[in-house]
């Protein structure tokens, strides 16, 4: 073959295009791509889950690609036939969207060695839940002398101008709104009482954070002293010496199942399954339960201990009693309307 300028250019362009769009290549030989969340999740998965997976699978090549659930969905949606991600991680709301848009495969339950050991709430045939996130009240113990006990404490006059919340873009914000609606006689189908309660909370609000991460910064800055907050997010702050504590309110802490899914049309189906299996093992779950990660285990064979047993639940039975699981199918039906309403009504 004679190499002239034109053919050289064509080759270069083709190679460049193949690099930019991996989907163009013919033989599929990319490593397993696991989309996790950013922040503490990424740290925990890099330190615990990935090594466990590699050890069990002869150092199989894999890549962690941290991003938000909604971005994972957008990416996979944009290239359904040849998705750039093999394993997705989702909060309950986005998980239903992903399943609804036919982006994930059913989990091969019959092949799984650990699925049956998961507590009933974590057994999701479209993708099991290896982790729980827990939302309760977070507060600064230096400024708040008597620990709060109920969601209603946020409305106490002494917290005027000291309360932080997040908007409804996040699972945390939406879930919390549903919970305060329930506290005032509403439900997943009727959040009107929740919005009314928000209206009354306005004078107390110091900030509406754009995302849960920003909420953590607000504690660090002394901008807020009390807020609904994520158990795991608080642990990082605590580890860095920020005075902040978590309590489960008496109405029950909100538990979000964090489910893990095999992406439909994934070229690495088998490895994806093995990664998820690794996340379900008692060993990985036990390590993740201990400091500094403090992630609530879902495998019933894991005995709860340490900070989790102290603050949240000492065993599965207590966990089920203390945690509130929300109906995200109902929530998703109206979520966009709520976000619009929040946009319009909540100006402080």
């Amino acid at each position: 073959m004679i190499m002239n300028r034109r053919s050289l250019l064509t080759t270069a362009l083709t190679l460049g295009a193949m690099k930019a769009f991996p989907g163009l290549s013919f033989a599929q030989a990319r490593p397993l791509v696991f989309a996790t969340f950013t922040g503490s999740w990424e740290e925990a998965h890099k330190a615990v889950l990935v090594p466990a997976f590699r050890k069990a699978n002869a150092d199989a090549a894999m890549v962690l690609d941290p991003m938000l659930s909604v971005d994972q969905i957008a990416k996979v949606n944009a290239a359904k036939a040849n998705p750039p991600i093999d394993v997705m991680l989702h909060d309950p709301g986005p998980a239903l969207v992903a399943v609804g848009q036919d982006l994930v495969e059913p989990y091969p339950v019959e092949k799984s060695a650990y699925y049956k050991d998961l507590i009933a709430e974590a057994q999701e045939p479209m993708g099991p839940a290896p982790f729980f996130q827990v939302v309760g009240l977070t507060y600064n113990p230096e400024a708040v002398k008597t620990p709060p006990t109920s969601w209603a404490d946020l409305w106490k006059p002494e917290f005027k101008g000291r309360v932080g919340i997040t908007n409804l873009n996040s699972t945390l914000g939406t879930g919390w709104l549903v919970e305060i609606a329930k506290m005032r006689g509403g439900s997943e189908a009727n959040v009107d009482p929740g919005f009314k309660a928000l209206e009354e909370l306005k004078p107390s609000l110091a900030a509406v954070a754009a995302n849960p991460g920003a909420l953590a910064t607000l504690f660090q800055q002394g901008q807020i002293d009390i807020s609904p907050g994520n158990f795991n997010a608080i642990q990082i702050l605590k580890a860095r010496g920020v005075p902040v504590e978590f309590v489960a309110p008496k109405e029950g802490a909100i538990a979000f199942k964090t489910t893990i899914h095999i992406v439909k049309n994934s070229p690495n189906r088998e490895l994806a399954f093995k990664l998820i299996e690794a996340a379900l093992t008692p060993e990985v779950q036990t390590t993740l339960m201990n400091p500094p990660y403090l992630i609530v285990p879902t495998n019933s064979k894991v005995t709860m201990g340490g900070e989790i047993a102290r603050v949240l639940a000492k065993d599965t039975a207590e966990l089920k009693k203390k945690f509130v699981f929300q109906d995200w199918k109902k929530i998703n039906e109206q979520r966009s309307a709520w976000i619009e309403r929040f946009n319009r009504e909540i100006k402080i």
Binding site: V208, T217, I339, N343, K347
Partner: protein, 287 residues
């Protein structure tokens, strides 16, 4: 397209050299933009039904129009602050020795060398309840309770002005540098005072720089997603956050596409106002 004619006219240039860039823009800029526009012409989130529903929804909704209005206003405020603060710096730059010039240019450029996220977080530290400003005012006994600076329009404008300041100052420095210093002297010798000289000579001649700086600052300020959401908080909604919310959280791509097209048109309209002003001012400067 790229082939050169056999007998070449020296005044015509082959398009061949521009073709790669044109192709690049076509593939990576025009095509996605067309796709975006195509997407915005659908009434449902799945993109199955054609229609102008998304545009109607936006343009008939006072709330959406309010978001657009406040975003455009935010840009105007930031641009004004940048111009008022940036012009004296640029003017000073042209009138000091080379050593001070180096220091000024370093100060102007320094923010560009830091990440926007870092600069924005610095503003959170400065403006917070226990931030530098509040702590100073409280220790001086000027205020009892901390002022609310963070999560206000004021905070967003100040932080954005600092973040975008180089975009204003650099074109101004260039424009002012092109003005012949003899013109100042000539104006003075003809009896004009320094203010008169400034308004009749320096300002008109620096207008190209002012227009360029304003355009850059404006465009950067209204699209500054990070600074807007971190300093403004979750309750202050501007177009970039609105767009993100619709596209990412709600997966409503057609509406998000319509929002971006409307935003794009609005920004282009403002920019063309700037350029028209620039053209008119050239006439004024020449008169």
């Amino acid at each position: 397209m790229g082939a050169a004619p056999a007998s070449r006219d020296v005044t015509s240039y082959g398009m061949g050299l521009a073709a790669p860039l044109a192709l690049f823009f076509l593939v990576f800029f025009v095509a996605p933009l067309l796709q975006l526009f195509w997407l915005s012409l659908h009434n449902d989130t799945a993109g199955l039904h054609w229609g102008l529903g998304q545009y109607l929804h936006f343009l008939t909704d006072p709330f959406s129009l309010g978001v657009l209005g406040s975003t455009l206003l935010l840009g105007a405020e930031v641009t004004a602050v940048c111009l008022v603060l940036g012009f004296p710096i640029a003017w000073l730059y042209q009138r000091v020795g080379p050593k001070l010039q180096t220091i000024i240019i370093l100060i102007v450029l320094l923010p560009l060398l830091t990440s926007v996220v870092v600069r924005t977080f610095a503003w959170i530290v400065i403006l917070g309840r226990q931030g530098i400003i509040n702590a100073t005012l409280q220790s001086l006994g000027l205020i009892d309770t901390p002022l609310k600076l963070l999560y206000t329009q004021f905070g967003v404008v100040i932080a954005l002005a600092q973040v975008q300041m180089p975009l204003m100052t650099l074109p101004l420095i260039t424009a002012l540098g092109r003005i012949d210093p003899n013109l100042d002297d000539a104006s003075c010798s003809l009896g004009a005072g320094s203010w008169r000289t400034f308004f009749r000579i320096v300002l008109p001649l620096s207008l190209p720089g002012v227009i360029a700086g304003c355009t850059l600052t404006y465009a950067a300020a209204i699209t500054a997603f990070i600074t807007q959401s971190l300093i403004g908080g979750g309750q202050m909604l501007f177009m970039p956050m609105y767009l993100y919310q619709q596209a990412s959280t709600l997966q409503n791509w057609p509406f998000a596409a319509a929002i971006s097209i409307i935003f794009l048109v609005a920004v282009l309209a403002v920019v063309s106002v700037f350029t028209t002003l620039g053209r008119m001012s050239r006439g004024y400067g020449g008169a």
